[in-house]
Symmetry: C3
Subunit: 329 residues, 3 copies
């Protein structure tokens, strides 16, 4: 399946409206701003009751996680519940694959049960766009994480978090640091920040974890984290997996922390008031120092709160677009 | 537990109303028609929002799947949610058996928590009828698949699908083809179609997968699929499991497809406009050719849609019967 | 983590209201009576629809079970649903630990998603009180079973069951029998009955399963079950695990039953009308004879019914206390 080049087209209907959300590629600045504005409308502070409306009343959301992720599944589940949807969870590791059912047959089955929003996560590339080509007109595919390629709601929640803390994107220097080459979080963040128009986007990675030259157009590349972090407004640390370190000739977690971790000393080189982000779950004292993660410049928990709000905004927008199509057909 | 001969009695209350649904055996034609009519009332087309009412408001449905089946569990779960019930899922592989709790104690526990509809699936025969003898008067057992014996909601959804496509049962020749001997789907379909009164019911299987002579009364038996399919209005293919093939001296899936698969060539021998059914999940190009499964005569996705509607009809009927008993006691 | 000595303090807010429920230690008699009265208000008989209100509307309950327990998870899930809460289940065996996320990061994540009641069960001691120190002011921790130490909702449901059957606690002799040393059920029951003021609390265990002398203050100790059971009003049998028997020089389940099981003969030595309790799941004919478990003196199923009611009462009380804090801040 080599479908990623067309995910941007596949996710739109004949009138150009967003029908699925598979990638942030091709979204206009106005579209992103509209999603961020609606998400902001759904944000509540800890201690307040969550926002809640009936935008998805009567709709059925199915979570299909071929790759396990409790955090992201719960975030989508709560977003859907708070919009009044019915939600079913399918653990795709254990169940349908047992009987050798093809993914497309699973999708057709859910569609025939009148599930109309399918949230998918998969370790392989291509499934969301592939499936989106075959589903009925009223069914929406939401990409909840696809290989190293795309995690669009994460990109949006990162953008929302930056906007809340820093306002105007055009004045900002943003650093994404870590295992860029394997990171869907980095790719979706790059798409969001490029489209929203930041002053400078930097990526910093050990040489072996740097993406190919044809990717991350417009970003400044660093292999030295101390140079990369200088004077930035936003530092986004990425999760590093132990098996990636050895591929990058890094012997262990301590070495990684020493050469690439976001520490208090390094953070001091960023602009005063710079914020620190991480998509979670964190390896504390590996890609990020524990005292930085819990420190005053960290907005990591705010990212989680924004994640539910962004997913509510995406669900509500997609459902509204489906209804618009229905009324004009 | 040798209880199947009495499942038909156990599922009725003192006034003869359906209290559980364990088997289609013993249901009258009028009872089946009433269930199909109510199910039809709940059917919606893909693209419409699902039917929804409050027939089960205040009730609690527990899904107890001792044999895994994501499709059937989700179908019951959505049916119950759309009728306003609370739903809990118990994965019986991993949980209560860990501590050696007896099934009956699990049932008593759920009943004491005021769960009043227990949906059960098990690979062994006898559990639903056994449990039905012990539960309190307000608790209903729904059989969601029992060994090779019974899958009553599948039989009803198959009947509903045939009625939608073909109308009057009395003019129809229906073929069920494949591993009849191990199939609960075939047994429940035979019960439904016999009671509804089809012109001819045919079963076709390799010799070693043909049921005993005392079963499937009234059905015409074939071991040659090409003869069996001639002039039928409905072809229902059954799932074949690889381990059954070797028992039937069939070396592999290719051989099975060649000798017993429903192919376009074979389908051409049926009546024009014959429909093709499959209970899912399919082994594509084994018991059914992929192009037949996706072809214009296939009603396989309609079966899935009808499955939710039939389960809503059964849940609503059972709940109404419980309430009727309550008011007259 | 050695936090159990302070669980009683940690669970109260600055005004002394219950903010979490981690232990029954330190609860006053009036507090317990208020919880039992509210639980009684939520009790319904089998055959009636469950009690239901909107005390938790808008709230989100997350079930975090680090130790599996389908019964207790379903009991909390139904209690929360029947009070109008949104509920999410996290299977902590399989999911977040996969990626090495710390428990505290999981808690912070759920809190940032605006989950405000976290129901936790763990085989190790200390986690609920540890977590309670770090959560935001609006988040409540409910202990659903902690090592051998604490199971507060079980203690309350046991007290409620005794009160329903016997009324005035001050006249009662209560026996808890079995593996006292490893039992959180016994410890929470002891706290409840001590606070409510029973005439005599007896504990009976094989010598090697007797708790240390500094525990169970005020209880009379027996190693002979036949002496212990004489003239009691309540017999509470505890679950015995096979691996504990060998530690106690008991060769097998038959021997355990002979020397410590609650049999009809032994029960005849208790007061006429004595009730028999068990927290479930039972090992039938090990710690309790099957005919006693199902006999006329058994209130084991009533305990399960009371379990949901007690959890509703705890959830509603905790939520009301959160709201009280909010209004006066």
């Amino acid at each position: 399946m080599t479908t990623t080049d067309t995910s941007a087209q596949v996710q739109r209907d004949a009138e150009g409206r967003l029908r699925h959300l598979i990638t942030l590629e091709g979204l206009s600045r106005d579209e992103m701003i509209a999603l961020l504005d609606l998400a902001q409308f759904y944000v509540r502070s800890p201690g307040d009751l969550p926002a809640r409306d009936q935008s998805l009343a009567g709709h059925t959301v199915a979570n299909l996680f071929f790759e396990p992720s409790t955090r992201t599944r719960v975030s989508f589940e709560l977003a859907a519940q708070r919009l009044g949807a019915d939600v079913v969870n399918l653990d795709m590791q254990s169940s349908s694959r047992v009987k050798g059912e093809t993914v497309l047959d699973t999708i057709y089955t859910l569609q025939a049960m009148l599930a109309d929003v399918l949230v998918m996560r998969d370790a392989e590339p291509g499934l969301p766009a592939y499936v989106a080509r075959y589903v009925a007109p009223h069914v929406c595919i939401l990409n909840a994480g696809e290989a190293h390629l795309s995690h669009p709601t994460q990109g949006l929640l990162d953008a929302l978090t930056v906007r809340q803390a820093k306002g105007d994107f055009s004045k900002l220097k943003i650093l994404i640091a870590g295992d860029i080459s394997h990171s869907r979080v980095a790719r979706s963040a790059w798409q969001a920040f490029s489209t929203l128009g930041v002053e400078e986007l930097r990526i910093a990675a050990p040489e072996d974890l740097m993406p190919g030259a044809n990717e991350f157009a417009g970003a400044t590349r660093f292999t030295n984290i101390d140079q990369a972090i200088a004077d930035v407004d936003v530092v986004m640390a990425l999760r590093i997996q132990r098996e990636r370190m050895s591929g990058a000739q890094i012997p262990d977690e301590v070495s990684y922390h020493r050469s690439f971790g976001i520490t208090a000393d390094r953070l001091a080189k960023a602009r005063p008031g710079a914020i620190v982000m991480h998509p979670g779950p964190m390896n504390r004292d590996v890609e990020i120092a524990s005292n930085v993660a819990d420190g005053p410049q960290s907005v990591i928990q705010q990212q989680v709160t924004n994640g539910v709000a962004v997913r509510m905004a995406v669900l509500a927008t997609i459902a509204r677009n489906v209804q618009a199509r229905r009324h004009f057909q």
